[in-house]
Amino acid sequence: MESPSKHRGSGARLGSLLSQERIAGSLLGAPLLVWQLSFFLAPLVMMLAMTFWSVRSYRLVFDMSLQAWSDVFSSPYFYGIYARTLLLALGSAALATAAALPLAYAVAFHVSGARRRLLLATLIMPYFTSYLVRSYTWRFILEDHGVINALIRVAGVGPVRFQGSIAALLIGYMGYFFCLVAFVVSLGMMAVDQRLMEAARNLGASPRQVFINVVLPLSRTAIVTAFALGFTLALGDYVVPSYIGGGTRPTLSILIVNTIQGQSNYPRAAVLATVMLGTLAVVLALGQRLAFRSRSPGHA
């Protein structure tokens, strides 16, 4: 949409009309850009540079050295922590996405109108509130004296030790982002044209077949996005593994915090963070490829 100068009045403004529009656009779009450049890009670049600095007697030295990298990769327990972090993140994201599918289906196809909007609002609300206290509550729910064990005791079975278990961590991650994942997948399924589902039914497909052959492929983007969100959140979270997990199964985030708090070794922490970013990039790229290959028609 074209429109030129903003000044009333006389005077020849040959050709300045377009430039006035450009100025307006730049004024509007610049602040956020500048903010991100200063407080996101610059810190990111600095962190990458920092991986090549070293620490001598608690001071940062700006030289080019691979000290931090070799420190991290030569440490024996790094690999275990890394593997655990990766598996936990993949696992919790997969669990959340899978568990979200039936819920999203119900939201998209069994409810409509105002009730559905209300349901969606209810679904997403917890994500924006009280994340810390939710984790706190989950920890106590999972304790020996917590609600779950109380219910289990009623059934006559002995108390299950959740503290520090993988199950507790997975439940913790679910408590954190299951609602977000479910929300995103719901939106994706809502966008599926129900007439296509009707057509499939009309051609003889069972509900299960309709789901697998029509609904899932058409909400593929949303499902992959939800998985990516869950994965990113799990990767970068500190509270669940440290508070709910009790820190007995350290993850990369715990390692990063310890490296800063305990040793004040920023270069090493920067290396860990870079490894995390690299992992994220690889997983997302692989996920893209896996999920979106064979886009060509002619595949059944």
Partner: protein, 267 residues
Amino acid sequence: MHRFGHSALAIYAAAALVFIYAPFFLLVLFAFNTSRFPYWPFQGFSLHWFQSMANGALFSAVLNSLLVALASSFIATVIGAMSAYCISRFNFNAKNAYVAFILLPPCVPLIVLALILLAFLRQVGLANSLGSVVICHVLLTSPLAFGLVRLRLSQVDPEFESAAWNLGASRWVAIRDVVLPLILPSLVAAFLLTMAVSWDEFTIAWFVSGANVTLPVFLWNMFQGQVSAMVNAIGTVSFVGSATLVLAAEALFFRQRASTDRRIDHG
């Protein structure tokens, strides 16, 4: 058979919602517990955890969180909305790259974000203050504000501005008199939602705030100490606060209606 699928799905959905909301119920429940342990079973009704909330450290943490939330949300909403308008109404070559860049911060793992911000702010001497938290929260929440306002702008017919120009309104007057009134609910919604996010944010605040403790950091410190249901009491109040913000934002955003939608045809 279809009926069975229906009810099975309904039960599953209900169970999922119970899972999501259980912590809130239990949180509030045990805030009224006489025992300081939030363990089952419930011991008895008491208000003394709420009464014990009257302490200076807590108040100053709440005040800090409030100031940070107000300041960062205001900035985030303003600059996010400006960029949203820029994207919606102008065309330029690097538009896609611009949007991708804007939406990048939320895609970075939170711990990494916290680390790079801490390291950077320390270097430039801006760390360990409430201001540092504001800076970081603006970074975190402006993409959200951007997304919300952009969504709303895509629903508002650009011809309204053309009509305003045609009737003599300059570009900025048209924005003030025609666009702003039509997107005002979404601006407020963005403000409220970003406030909720900032109010609740822990990791980054923990890293960069230093001694100026915000409420989540205050709570975290309490976690490390003795088990106490005062956490429940504080959590309940905090939850009610942020839930109100989120619900108000949702109501505002979804209530904006078709009278402004593009291309309506009337008989």
